[in-house]
């Protein structure tokens, strides 16, 4: 040990002499004080913490603004800002959850970037009281940052129920910061938190790392540029091999100075057998264990018997599949049979078909003497008769039922359990079970799910999941239309559709995972406790989603209807139907008019599916044709919003490449299915 410390001192001295000139070029450590002064006048409070600890609930309580709250890790993948009600002049930021620094996934990096780029008034760590050790590991990292810092020990109700007692006053002494016990869902402790925030001061928490690390931190810290967080915390972050701080420093330091600190890190690394990340983390873990043992007391474990029993069942290799089948059948019944069948019939044929549409058509015909305009508004491809009727009478009941069912699933904590159940299936596609989360969210909206791929660990996985989402995951509106149509034929038809789409998903995933370079990461996912969903939260969430959905869907449906009207009037639609005839009639075995539905599908897949739905309702399609058309439109191009999101998250090249892969594939699978069904002689 003495030889090692001599060696490291020698290396550091050597580096000191060689870097004396370059330090003059870079801002000195004193600049941190200037930043700290700037931070004192800034007015942003960041909510930071592990995934699924209730940061978004705090955000709602502090700002009164709605953000989606669920019971699975990875609900928040972007930063949300709003003004704090109880702290005039201050703004609160909700951040994606972070397990520890250095961050691993893309959503965790969003939080790390925020801490580096944004001067903050204070940091509030929302921690899970029942998992104190995990909470403390992040707590000491945040406390080291030298910012005004408050620890909110949340879920005190659950921790009490499990027999965990924490001496938060003693913990506050150890961490040298305010520690507030809270139960955010019930609003307990929020006032105390606001008071603590008003008086929050910069922490001077410091604990000692191994000597070699301490020397290296001091040396690196001297050379670092000014940052919103302390030089010590930044140096530790960078020494731990953090990619975000690496990029941040590379962009702000002179190349020579950056090369020097890199050389310094390498030389310090030489003194340890384990990586610096491991050495630093081990020191923290030892300290965490010390604090946790002193401040936490366990009485008997009072875990909820029924919840634990059900939790075991949902991840059981046999019973878990049974429960999954029940959940899927329930979803099929609620969305497909009840939503897309009963509610759509009531709205489309009843309310719109009998009352609203004849009334609107009557008024428009009477008020507008120009036949062209009448047709534009209430004709076959009219803005009202097509755009608004599709959006309100067909899509609205379907997405409402889906979002309601989905909200219940989200809040119960069932979704992460699917990751454990489906891991083997995702292995085939070069992924791990964690990929099930964006896939299932894709059933709600593929655009949002594309954003949720940030929770995955590698770029390769994100790209694979985005491809599969764009190809074979139908969004709620489309799924509802598909279910509604197939439920109208038979359960067997729904099964054929499911199996074909699933097989395509597996085959494309398998092939793509072999083409894309890189290795698969192994599954490691947090399973939150199963909880009874709160009706108020599910309803508020559903309403918020419906509002967002209508804001996106109605304008697009109106544009679609206008586009179809123009195509129809200019004769382009007839030309497109003629051009598409060989593909539709000869290859897919569908009527020539289905070309129009596929043209509509370019705008939104569900818009196209709705067109097919109406053709089916008019009796223009046979059962075989319905199944083929539904499979093809499901695999057809993702909607415009998704393409834009893919371009934003990845690049335009990726987005275009995906569209070019997806379209021929959809027609290939559709044609093959058509032939297979005819060969087998399947009929109603």
């Amino acid at each position: 040990v003495s030889r090692l410390s001599e060696k490291v001192e020698g290396v550091i001295l050597q580096n000191q002499t060689s870097t004396q000139t370059s330090t003059k070029e870079t801002p000195s450590v004193d600049n941190h004080d200037a930043i700290a002064e700037g931070a004192a006048v800034c007015n942003t409070i960041a909510l930071v913490g592990h995934p699924n600890v209730g940061k978004s609930v705090f955000f709602q309580r502090l700002t009164g603004q709605f953000v989606t709250v669920s019971n699975y890790p990875g609900t928040t993948v972007e930063i949300t800002r709003a003004k704090a009600r109880a702290l005039p002049g201050s703004e609160v930021i909700d951040t994606p959850g972070v397990i520890a620094f250095p961050p691993i996934t893309e959503d965790e990096r969003v939080t790390a970037r925020l801490l580096l780029d944004q001067p903050l008034q204070a940091v509030v760590q929302v921690g899970d009281a029942k998992n104190l050790r995990r909470t403390l590991l992040l707590a000491i990292q945040l406390a080291e940052m030298g910012l005004p810092y408050v620890l909110a020990l949340n879920m005190m109700d659950e921790s009490k129920a499990r027999g965990v007692v924490i001496n938060h006053n003693l913990l506050a002494e150890h961490l040298n910061c305010p520690v507030i016990p809270t139960t955010a869902t019930k609003g307990q402790g929020i006032e105390a938190l606001v008071s603590a925030l008003k008086e929050a001061k910069e922490t001077n928490f410091r604990f000692k790392y191994p000597t070699e690390i301490e020397v290296a931190v001091a040396e690196v810290g001297k050379r670092l540029p000014a940052a919103p967080l302390s030089a010590r915390a930044l140096a530790l972050l960078w020494l731990s091999g953090d990619q975000v701080s690496h990029e941040w420093l590379e962009g702000r330091m002179a190349p020579e100075a950056f090369a020097e600190i890199k050389a310094l890190r390498e030389s310090v690394q030489m003194t340890f057998v384990d990586s610096l990340t491991t050495v630093i983390q081990r020191a923290r873990l030892d300290y965490v264990d010390e604090i946790a043992s002193a401040t936490m007391f366990h009485s008997e474990n009072h875990a909820n018997g029924f919840s634990t029993w059900l939790s075991r069942l949902t991840t059981h290799s046999v019973w878990g599949l049974g429960i999954l089948a029940i959940v899927l059948y329930g979803l099929y019944w609620f969305v497909g049979v009840f939503g897309a069948g009963l509610l759509v019939d009531l709205l489309e044929e009843g309310l719109f078909g009998v009352f609203i549409n004849p009334w609107v058509i009557g008024w428009v015909t009477r008020l507008l003497p120009v036949p062209f305009l009448v047709e534009f508004l209430v004709g076959e491809y009219g803005l009202w008769t097509m755009g608004i009727t599709y959006a309100l009478a067909l899509i609205l009941p379907i997405v409402s039922t889906f979002f309601l069912a989905f909200g219940v699933m989200e809040d119960s904590g069932y979704l992460p359990r699917l990751a454990a159940l489906s891991n083997r299936m995702f292995r085939i596609m070069g992924l791990n079970g964690k990929a099930v989360l964006p896939m299932v969210l894709g059933l709600g909206c593929v655009t949002m799910a594309t954003l949720t791929t940030r929770i995955l660990e590698s770029k390769r996985e994100r790209l694979l999941v985005i491809l599969l989402l764009a190809l074979a995951v139908p969004c709620s509106a489309q799924l509802g239309v598909v279910m509604g149509m197939l439920a109208g034929i038979s359960f067997q038809a729904a099964m054929i559709w499911s199996v074909v789409v699933l097989l395509t998903l597996l085959a494309v995933g398998w092939l793509a995972s072999r083409i894309l370079p890189g290795e698969r990461t192994m599954l490691l996912v947090d399973l939150p406790p199963l909880r009874w969903p709160l009706a108020s939260n599910v309803i508020v969430k559903t309403l918020a989603r419906l509002e967002w959905y209508l804001k996106e869907v109605v304008p697009l449906f109106l544009i679609g209807a206008a586009l179809m009207f123009i195509l129809d009037k200019t004769g382009l639609l007839a030309w497109l139907i003629r051009v598409g005839e060989p593909l539709m009639v000869s290859w897919l075995g569908l009527p020539a008019q289905t070309s129009a539905a596929f043209v509509m599908g370019f705008l939104r897949r569900d818009f196209g599916a709705t067109g097919l739905f109406l053709m089916g309702a008019q009796g223009l399609l046979t059962p075989v044709q319905v199944v083929v058309a539904m499979v093809t439109i499901t695999l057809f191009v993702p909607c415009i919003a998704t393409v834009l999101m893919i371009a934003r998250e990845r690049s335009w090249r990726t987005a275009v490449a995906m569209v070019l892969v997806v379209i021929p594939l959809a027609f290939l699978v559709g044609g093959l299915l058509s032939r297979a069904l005819l060969l087998v002689g399947w009929s109603l």
Binding site: A100, R134, L138, R162, T278, L285, P416, M522, L524, V525
Partner: protein
Amino acid sequence: LARKPIRIAARFKRYKHPVKDDLIDNRTNDEDTMRKNKFGKHIGKRARRRKHGTCPACYEKTAELTLADVPAGGRARVAGFCRGIPADRLAHLQAYGLAPGYWVRVLQHRPVTIIQVEHTELALETELACEVLVMDENG
């Protein structure tokens, strides 16, 4: 017939850890104890393959107990990690509470290993569980 797989397994040359040679020799020479692990529970097929072959994660031969060997319902203390484990994966596991000296309870092994650390349940692939070395309650 029942003993056949064990005889086949016994043919594999066992890697001897330099520190724990005595312990391993005592255990493996007896066919009856070989079917049971330190916890006195029957070792499953996957665990046997792990014990007599190489670690599926880092391809390194090791004879120590891992999380994958702890039977469902068993409790163990994390002793360390496989030598070949990448630093970022190690940091990730430790951040979740799978750190040396911490106690974990294994809840199930199939379809994936599910463990309880403090009051959190973690699902991890069995290959990953093979990278976590453990010791039983007696150390």
